[in-house]
């Protein structure tokens, strides 16, 4: 009896398999072909609008208890002012046992909430976006909302994720293959033209692989040859987002494995700057290679992320001065992600690259805005650090991010002793008065 069923089974399976494959291929073609030509049907924007409606609906369903706003009364008053206020009123520079309260209070305030450590974890959302990973203190989730979440899981993992992974492989594969082919051409205008087209096309496919919906502002300020493009860093995806709208020369360390293959292929088509691990420490070598590249006007603008590490897109941290010492035009770019659709921040201490990419591809979408700011150059009498801070402030202002002086390296390293010594010096002045010369300043 079983033998009667077998032919039917296999026939049905075959039909299902074929129809599924055909549908899938049609979908891919539908997505890849526009990427090749740089046109868009606007499907992603439609998707984004429907997601926004979905979030509004879920917000109504979610009964949020209005949380008490947490206030730490932190006015930016100077150390001297606060200590004078605390004392009994005698204004002589002298020690008072209550001075300890100043340091005590500052210390406890920073334990409760500080400006730095929260930049290295994902930003918290005000309302739930139906992803388990962004569920913080949202309690009281009704059954309807859970059902909605369930549907979301099905769509994201069952349909979007496989589609995106296929697109990603296609994009990367094409990048490697096509850049290698272009590399066979002789150097010249033809090669540069082809290389640009190939790079753009493959990055556009990758953009679709992440369902990234990007809005570019002020494109008239796009970086030109012979300059450096600097941007705030949130994730490795920043590269894809910027490179799908313009052609850049990348800078980075040589990796092994798949990354290494991609790097070697890319550099065949157009000059990128890859450093060996040992060369990275040598600042003069790095500076020299960068300036050589910039001096050649036929080469593409260099893309650099001066923060040096990924920050969670709520702030811009200290820019390393290396790229600002070279003395060429700097094209600042601000990138701001919309966290409702998917959190793009790469917390490298928590997630490896593969894990991170999978999380990206199983979010709703990556929605971001890119602002091209007008180019800046170092002014007379300004040193590299001041220039870097000026650029940083411009980027922070445009992107609506907090401008911090702290070093992104604090993600992993300890803070330098010199900052503590500054505090000690300030307090000593209060004790003995600045007229007495008791310290070398």
């Amino acid at each position: 009896m079983e033998s009667y069923l077998f032919p039917f089974d296999s026939l049905i399976c075959m039909l299902l398999g074929i129809s599924f494959t055909v549908l899938f291929t049609l979908l891919l073609v539908f997505i890849i072909v526009p990427a090749i030509f740089g046109v868009s049907f606007g499907i992603r924007r439609l998707y984004m609008k429907s997601l926004i409606k979905l979030f509004e609906v879920s917000e109504l369903m979610l009964s949020i208890i209005s949380e008490e706003v947490w206030i730490i009364a932190k006015e930016p008053v100077s150390l001297e002012q606060e200590i004078q206020d605390m004392r009994r009123g005698g204004a002589e520079p002298e020690f008072d046992m209550s001075d300890i309260f100043y340091f005590c209070r500052r210390g406890v305030e920073s334990i409760v909430d500080d400006e730095v450590t929260k930049r290295f974890t994902a930003e918290e959302l005000e309302s739930w976006n139906l992803l388990t990973r962004s569920n913080y203190n949202f309690h009281h989730i009704s059954t309807r909302l859970t059902a909605l979440w369930g549907v979301g899981v099905l769509i994201r993992y069952g349909f979007l994720l496989p589609l995106r992974v296929t697109l990603a492989f296609t994009g990367v594969g094409l990048l490697v293959v096509l850049t290698s082919i272009v590399g066979l051409f002789p150097n010249g205008r033809m090669k540069n033209y082809l290389s640009d087209k190939v790079h753009l096309m493959c990055y556009r496919i990758c953009v679709r692989a992440l369902t990234a919906i990007i809005t570019y502002h002020d494109s008239e300020n796009k970086p030109k040859n012979g300059g450096i493009c600097v941007a705030n860093h949130t994730s490795p995806i920043d590269v894809i987002i910027l490179a799908s709208d313009g052609c850049y020369a990348m800078v980075g360390q040589v990796h092994g494995g798949l990354m290494g293959v991609i790097q070697r292929a890319m550099v065949k088509a157009c000059p990128h700057i890859w450093f060996e691990r040992s060369e990275v420490k040598d600042r003069h070598l790095v500076a020299k290679r960068l300036s050589d590249h910039i001096a050649d006007k036929s080469k593409l603008p260099i893309l650099i992320f001066p923060e040096g590490t990924c920050i969670n897109n709520t702030s811009v941290m200290m820019f390393k001065k290396g790229s600002f010492e070279i003395g060429c035009r700097v094209y600042p770019v601000a990138i701001k992600y919309d966290p409702r659709f998917g959190d793009a921040f790469w917390n490298s201490s928590k997630f490896g690259m593969v894990n991170y990419l999978l999380r990206m591809m199983s979010s709703w979408a990556i929605v971001c805005s890119v602002w091209y700011l007008p180019p800046m150059s170092r002014m007379e009498g300004e040193d590299a650090v001041q220039f870097a801070n000026r650029v940083k402030a411009a980027i922070a202002r445009k992107g609506g991010l907090a401008d911090l002086l702290w070093d992104g390296g604090l993600k992993r390293g300890k803070v330098k002793e010199v900052f503590k010594e500054e505090q000690q010096k300030l307090y000593s002045k209060v004790l003995v008065g600045s007229s007495e010369d008791c310290s070398r300043s």
Binding site: E68, W70, F95, F101, C104, R105, I111, A122, E422, L431
Partner: protein
């Protein structure tokens, strides 16, 4: 990460902490989230290194003393209860006694308890007296290398002279409370509720 953190804190625990410390429900959950984010080892307790990872605390000249105040005598780990108990000292002083639990004695954020907290920052060996040496050590922490030994010594001597009433060249807790200006205590009250 946040959702796991709040689910580990049970309602009974929150109620107990509320009674002991006077923090509100949402403040406790918020602080638990903070505790959890500082706890890199994810073992439910904070070590001294976890505190030192906060840059603003690491550059505080008295950072180590403040961190020490969180840890009970001889221990290297502080759990959430202990964390909240210490933070409770910094809540505003309440004039009305609605949070006062008659069996537990004074609330943690009373004037006396706040002063005792500060006293312990000076009293390094916890013998209930601030000796000249201890005062010098704390002063040295606050000024770094910017003031000479003699000057610091004379500052310490002057301070002890002013505060010491029973002539033992040390400052006891009662002597300490007398020299503290009233304003200073109110300044510790910086953890407030907003609307």
């Amino acid at each position: 990460m946040g959702s796991r953190a709040s689910s580990l804190l049970r309602e009974e625990d929150i109620e107990e902490i509320k009674k002991q410390t006077g923090f509100s429900h949402s403040q406790i959950t918020r602080l638990y989230s903070r505790f959890h984010s500082l706890d890199k080892g994810e073992n439910g307790a904070l070590s001294r290194e976890d505190f030192q990872r906060i840059p603003e605390l690491a550059i505080n000249p008295l950072g180590d003393r403040i961190i020490n105040a969180f840890f009970p005598e001889g221990e290297d780990q502080v759990n959430f209860r202990g964390f909240m108990r210490t933070l409770a000292h910094f809540r505003p002083v309440e004039d009305n006694e609605k949070n006062k639990d008659p069996t537990s004695g004074e609330p943690l954020n009373s004037r006396t308890n706040k002063l005792f907290f500060a006293f312990q920052l000076y009293d390094l060996d916890r013998d209930d007296k601030i000796s000249r040496d201890e005062l010098l050590q704390v002063l040295r922490m606050m000024v770094g290398v910017n003031i000479s030994d003699e000057q610091l010594g004379s500052i310490a001597d002057r301070t002890i002279q002013e505060a010491d009433t029973n002539g033992d060249m040390c400052i006891s807790f009662s002597e300490f409370t007398k020299v503290m200006p009233g304003k200073a205590i109110d300044i510790t009250a910086d953890l407030q509720n907003g609307a």
